[in-house]
């Protein structure tokens, strides 16, 4: 692979951001297991959480291979023995769970993001990424179908479900911007043909989510007045919410007790 150091590092950050988003969101959503509002959805939402962790594991393995590390063992190292400050997750996925509308809407917004981004990445010139994107997108199409069905029913359901969903939208919307904040060096990833521009993904995402949210009876007019938590151009995934540290500490607590144990 004919890449210079800067290009390589940019692509590593690009993959790490994807993997960390899926890991953290999957981990948080797994907290609903045993607590979802009905048994069938408890199983469904746990399935989705597990799928996202599976996607994270795929991206970590691709990253490991790209950096010449063992794709079998290095992902565990990245998940269990990396400091929270070295994670590249977006703040959207770090926010603690609120009510059901909050978690469902966050998963919906993320599914839409993943679905449109994977459609782009199917054309990546880095073939392991293109292949995995094509495979994972099939599953994301189902996630999107499931979560969008819930959003419509919450939005058009009762006064209470509508109110909760509208509140969730106000809480989550300012955080969505960071999903489309280019990671440092994204231009190099794009020019090498390995990844696609965040701007393209953002446009496709908006075309996907805005009509669905409107169809679900949500008011979007005021959203443009909400100040994004990060602007599109401050570039960094190095700033995190305070929640990430707590989450990562818990996630790693057992592994770090006995680093040499094989589970």
């Amino acid at each position: 692979m004919d890449m210079d150091q800067a290009e390589k590092q940019a692509f590593e950050r690009y993959l790490l951001a994807m993997a960390d988003d899926e890991l953290i969101l999957g981990h948080l959503n797994s907290e609903w297991c045993g607590h979802a509002p009905l048994l069938e959805e408890d199983i469904a939402f746990a399935n989705i959480a597990l799928d996202e962790i599976g996607h994270a594991s795929t991206w970590y393995a691709i990253l490991s291979e790209f950096t010449g590390k063992d794709p079998e063992t290095h992902p565990d190292h990245l998940v269990y023995f990396r400091d929270a400050s070295d994670f590249h997750s977006a703040r959207l996925v770090e926010l603690p769970n609120g009510d059901w509308a909050f978690s469902m809407l966050r998963q919906y917004l993320f599914d839409a993001y993943e679905m449109v981004k994977l459609r782009e990445l199917e054309r990546s010139r880095y073939l392991p990424l293109a292949g995995a994107a094509a495979k994972i997108r099939k599953e994301e199409i189902y996630h999107y179908r499931h979560t969008s069905a819930w959003i419509k029913r919450l939005g058009l359901g009762t006064e209470e479900s509508h109110r909760r969903l509208q509140n969730a939208l106000a809480a989550l919307w300012p955080y969505t911007r960071q999903l489309f904040t280019p990671v440092a060096g994204e231009d190099l990833v794009v020019s090498s043909g390995f990844g696609s521009p965040s701007e393209v993904v953002e446009i496709a995402w908006r075309e996907q989510v805005v009509p669905l949210l409107e169809e679900s009876g949500l008011q979007l007019g005021h959203l443009s007045n909400l100040v994004p938590v990060v602007s599109r151009y401050d570039g960094s995934r190095e700033q995190h919410t305070p929640h990430l540290k707590v989450l990562v500490r818990e996630l790693q607590s057992v592994a770090r007790l006995e680093p040499d144990s094989s589970w």
């Binding site: 199983i43 599953e139 189902y142 499931h146 029913r153 144990s261």
Partner: protein, 177 residues
């Protein structure tokens, strides 16, 4: 006690092109679209499926062989006639087996469909019969296979015994002073 749950739907699953649809269980759902998705999530994460049907439980007319043999008559309402339409017939072929798809036929009431089924499928040893109008089926579409069913094939099913947690815990305990 009043049932505060959402309506129940029967779930039927086909695991291969040449396999018959089989009853798999029931799910609660507020509507047919959610019922189909709940069926997928509860029953088809694994093993595999090529088609899934959900049918409102209330739409299924069911009789045992014994009741039919005793001619004690059907349930009230089952004989109410409508315009002729397609009915689907399932039969439970042994105590242990789930109900299996047998075929379809045209009838103008659930009771008429049941009577016709007993005659048409007389070569099967059916312990319990189910009939329901085909129009009440919500089914997965061929284009759903890729996103609803195929991903499960890549996910190995692991029993809790596949994880060596206990062994690892024991080793840690023994190592500690």
């Amino acid at each position: 006690m009043t049932d505060t749950q959402w309506p129940r739907f029967m779930v039927f699953q086909q695991t291969g092109e040449d396999e018959p649809l089989m009853h798999n269980g029931t799910v609660h759902a507020p509507d047919v679209e959610m019922a189909l998705m709940n069926a997928r999530d509860v029953f088809v994460r694994r093993p595999d499926a090529v088609a899934l049907w959900v049918v409102p439980v209330d739409a299924i007319y069911s009789q045992t062989r014994e009741v039919l043999a005793n001619q004690t008559g059907g349930e009230p309402g089952a004989g109410r006639t409508n315009k002729p339409e397609d009915y689907i017939v399932f039969g439970k072929l042994s105590e242990q087996a789930q109900a299996t798809y047998l075929g379809k036929l045209r009838a103008n009431s659930a009771q008429a469909a049941m009577n016709a089924a007993v005659e048409k499928f007389s070569d099967h040893n059916v312990l319990r019969w189910w009939v329901f109008p085909a129009r009440l089926i919500t089914r997965s579409q061929p284009q759903d296979i890729e996103s609803m069913f195929l991903p499960a094939l890549d996910k190995p099913f692991r029993l809790s015994t596949d994880f060596h947690t206990q062994t690892a815990m024991r080793e840690i305990r023994d190592r500690k002073p």
